[in-house]
Subunit: 247 residues, 2 copies
Amino acid sequence: MPGRLQRKTISQEAVDLADFKVGVDNVIFSVDTEQNRLLVLLVMRHDCPFAGNWSLPGTLVRRGESLEDAAYRVLSEKIRVNNLYLEQLYTFGGPQRDPREAKDAYDIRYLSVSYFALVRFVEAELIADGVSGIAWYPLSQVPSLAFDHSEILKYGYQRLRNKLEYSPIAFDVLPEVFTLGDLYQLYVTVLGPDFSDYSNFRARLLKLGFLQDTGVKTSRGAGRPASLYRIDAAAFEQLKNKPMVFI
Amino acid sequence: MPGRLQRKTISQEAVDLADFKVGVDNVIFSVDTEQNRLLVLLVMRHDCPFAGNWSLPGTLVRRGESLEDAAYRVLSEKIRVNNLYLEQLYTFGGPQRDPREAKDAYDIRYLSVSYFALVRFVEAELIADGVSGIAWYPLSQVPSLAFDHSEILKYGYQRLRNKLEYSPIAFDVLPEVFTLGDLYQLYVTVLGPDFSDYSNFRARLLKLGFLQDTGVKTSRGAGRPASLYRIDAAAFEQLKNKPMVFI
DNA sequence: GCAAAAGTGTTCCGACTACACCCATGC
DNA sequence: GCATGGGTGTAGTCGGAACACTTTTGC
C-alpha cells in the first residue's frame, strides 16, 4: 500500500532532515529627495563570518517571534521612523549560502527570509550611528556585501521599482501634506528621470481622485509656490486594493 | 561603544533563538482544458497532526538540499510531468502555525516556504494514486485544508492569475504545437470567460511576434480546422524577460 | 526682466473593445 | 443546409506621449 510505504520512508528519513536557524534580512530603502538619491541601509559586520564587511541589517528569529515581528525588530533597532512600508521579499535558503554551514552535513543551516522596506529619509533617525558602522548608501555606491546580500539587494531594488509603478506605496512614506513635485521627485529618484513627463504624471495622479488640494501654498526658493495636497482617506480606502498604474 | 554593546546583547540572546525545521509546500495547478477546470493537487495526510485531512503536497527540507530542490522533489514524488513552471510563492512562519509547536517555548518551530507550480493536466501522471489519497481537486470544490494551507492556496491562486496576465508562463505548460484555441481555453479556465474576446486575444498574441504558424491544420470534431502554432524560440528569448501583457 | 518651478491645455497616435462578417469542416 | 469553431477586418473610443503655453514666485 503506497500510503504505508510512504510513511515508513518518511520516518526513516527523519534523521536526514536539516536543522535551521532562520534569519531575517531587510532591504531598507529611503529616498533623499533633496539630493535626489535612492539610499539603502547597510550595517558593518563585527562578527565572523564576513567581519568587516557591509551587509544588510538582519537578525535571527527568536522563540515565539514571527518572521514579520523579527523584520520590524531589526528595523526598529537600527532606525526610528513613523511611517514605513514593509513586505516580504523572498526566501533564500540553499545550502552553502552561509559559510557557517560546514561541508559537514551535520551542521546547522541558515535560511534567510528577506523583507523589503521603504522609509522616509528625512524622518529616519539612525540609532547608534557612531563610529561603528551603520549608514545609508546611495544605491550606485554600494560595495560588495556579505553572504548573498548583494543578490538580495538586487532583488529588492527590482521589487521596489515594480511596486512603485502599480502600488500606492509612495504614500506610505510621504508626509501628511506634500506637493505633487515632492511626489514626482520620489518617482524620479527611484525610477530614473525618463519614466514620465511631469505634466502627464500630474494629470494621471490627479485623475485617480484621492489627492485633495488643501489650498495651502508652499514656496521653496525660486519658482511658483506649489499647492499642498493630502490623501483623501475615504477615496483612498476604496482604491488602495485595486490595481493602479502610476508608471 | 554601541557596536560592542550590540555584540554582547546578541550573544546573550543566542539561547533565545528559535530552532526550525523547514517545510516546502507546493500549490500545484493544472488546467484541464477538456472540461474547462482549474485543478489543484491535494494529498491526504496520514500522520498527525491533521491526519485524515487534505493538504498541499509538502515535505521537510533535508540536509544538503536547497529549497528549490525540495520543491522539485515533492513534485516528482507525486506526479510525473515533462513541462512545468515553478516559482517560490511566500514564506509562512508565524509561531503556532503548526500545532506541533507546543506552547512550550523550547519546542521546534515549523516554517513553510511555499512554491507555486503549473503543469499540464493531460501529461501529468499521478504517482501512487490508489486508495490512499492524492487527487486533483477543482478549485471550486477544495475542502478546508490542514495547517494554514487554505491561506497558501488562496495566495497561490492570486499569483497564478497575475502571472498569467503579464508573464508567458502559459507556454511552459503548452505542448510543442498548439492551436490558439488551446491557448485561449487555458486563459479562460484560469481567468474566467470575461477576460477577453477571442478575436482580440488572438490578435494581441500574434502581434507579440513569437508565435509561428506551422501551416499544419488540426481538426477536432466540428468546426473549421485550426492552425497549429509553435513558439519561435529565438523571438521568444528576446522577449521573455520583458514585460508583456496578455490580459 | 529673467529664470525657475507650478500648473493647464491640446494634438497626435497607438492600443484595446466590440462587434460584424467570412471560412472550412462535420453531420 | 446548418451548426460549430477558426479566422479576418473595421469603426469607435480611450488613454498615454509629447510638447506648447500660461502663471506665480525669487532675484
